[in-house]
């Protein structure tokens, strides 16, 4: 005889529980954690290279590189002299919290102030999976077009900061930055938006200052918590 069993369970609960565990470890270590998301080629790795170059003397930075294949990005980052772990998802389109947990064994968390998790280049799937981060930062480059908030709304809703990259290309592409702003804010009114160019350096100081203040707030929190 058939029986009906009521369950009511979040299908992603296993991922979310593990994300909370990761988050606890990060907080214990006084670490601020960014989940960096974008489509392929928006400039995540370039942004990271510039960020490390500028901040490495004042902030101890670690990086988790997520890619479907290859260790190309990790090699680029390791040349900058920071802790880096490459995660190959072997086909999966996003990082999840168990992958991050496995990467943590290879990192000295106590020796870091900031961990940047560079997610797999994809505007859809990474937005569904928490990994234990403090914030999601989204990068969108102007050649991708100003219609992206309309097409990939979840990513814009989940992000706390939107970096609009490659603004040096605006004279050459059909992209209206004010439309990106208006459409993104319509989805997420508290979204912080910065326009940047990793190529010319324009706008990057705003990003560095934002990171500085987040890392410093986390350190203050951690000190407060210890007392």
């Amino acid at each position: 005889m058939a029986v009906k069993v009521p369950v009511v369970r979040n299908i992603l609960e296993a991922n979310e529980q593990l994300a909370q565990e990761n988050s606890r470890l990060f907080r214990q270590a006084g670490l601020f954690v960014v989940n960096l998301m974008s489509g392929p080629g928006a400039g995540k790795t370039s942004l990271l290279e510039h960020t490390i170059e500028t901040l490495k003397d004042e902030i101890r930075i670690g990086v988790v590189e997520g890619d479907i294949q290859s260790s190309y990005d990790a090699e680029r980052i390791s040349q900058r002299g920071v802790q880096v772990v490459q995660l190959n998802t072997g086909g999966a389109c996003h990082l999840d919290s168990s992958m991050i947990k496995s990467a943590l064994n290879a990192l000295q968390l106590a020796e870091l102030d900031l961990l940047v998790i560079e997610n797999v280049g994809n505007l859809v799937c990474p937005a569904e999976f928490k990994v234990g981060e403090d914030v999601k930062v989204m990068l969108l480059s102007v050649p991708e077009g100003d219609d992206k908030p309309l097409k990939y709304p979840l990513m814009f809703q989940e992000a706390s900061v939107l970096l609009i990259n490659k603004i040096d290309l605006l004279p050459y592409v059909d992209c209206d930055v004010s439309k990106i702003r208006q459409r993104a804010l319509q989805l997420n009114s508290s979204l912080e938006i910065l326009e940047i160019s990793c190529r010319t350096g324009e706008g990057l100081s705003g990003w560095y200052n934002w990171l500085r203040s987040q890392v410093s707030n986390r350190k203050t929190d951690a000190t407060g918590a210890e007392i």
Binding site: V5, V7, R9
Partner: protein, 113 residues
């Protein structure tokens, strides 16, 4: 194609709950999927079929209920359904809104024998 990962999580829960309730074969699953979640029902069904082969959930039917996107305004308390991805209050215009539903991804119940 994150539906594969979601289907695997779903199957893990079904096997765990099915065994706990002495069910040897799962006939159907009742799911709620929010409009805002990026899950494609057809893909989820396809992935679940593949993964559940040889388990107690092999051949189980997935009944997927889509949940509409509803927000509540933090300023004036007005509750409204979101159309055209406009996440601001139609009554007072505030962008300070709280999502009430639309992000669900839950297994509500299952039938088995």
């Amino acid at each position: 194609m994150h539906e594969m990962a979601i289907a695997q999580n779903l199957l893990d829960i079904v096997i765990q709950e099915g065994s706990a309730h002495g069910v040897s074969r799962v006939l159907s699953l009742s799911l709620k999927v929010g409009e805002l979640s990026t899950v494609v029902p057809e893909s989820l069904i396809f992935c679940f079929e593949l993964l559940s082969k040889g388990t107690l959930a092999e051949g189980a039917r997935l009944d997927i209920e889509k949940v509409p996107t509803i927000c509540r305004c933090r300023e004036c308390d007005h509750e409204f359904s979101v159309t055209d991805l406009l996440f601001s209050c139609p009554k007072c215009g505030s962008g300070k809104v709280e999502l009430q539903s639309g992000r669900e991804l839950t297994l509500e119940s299952f039938e088995g024998e």
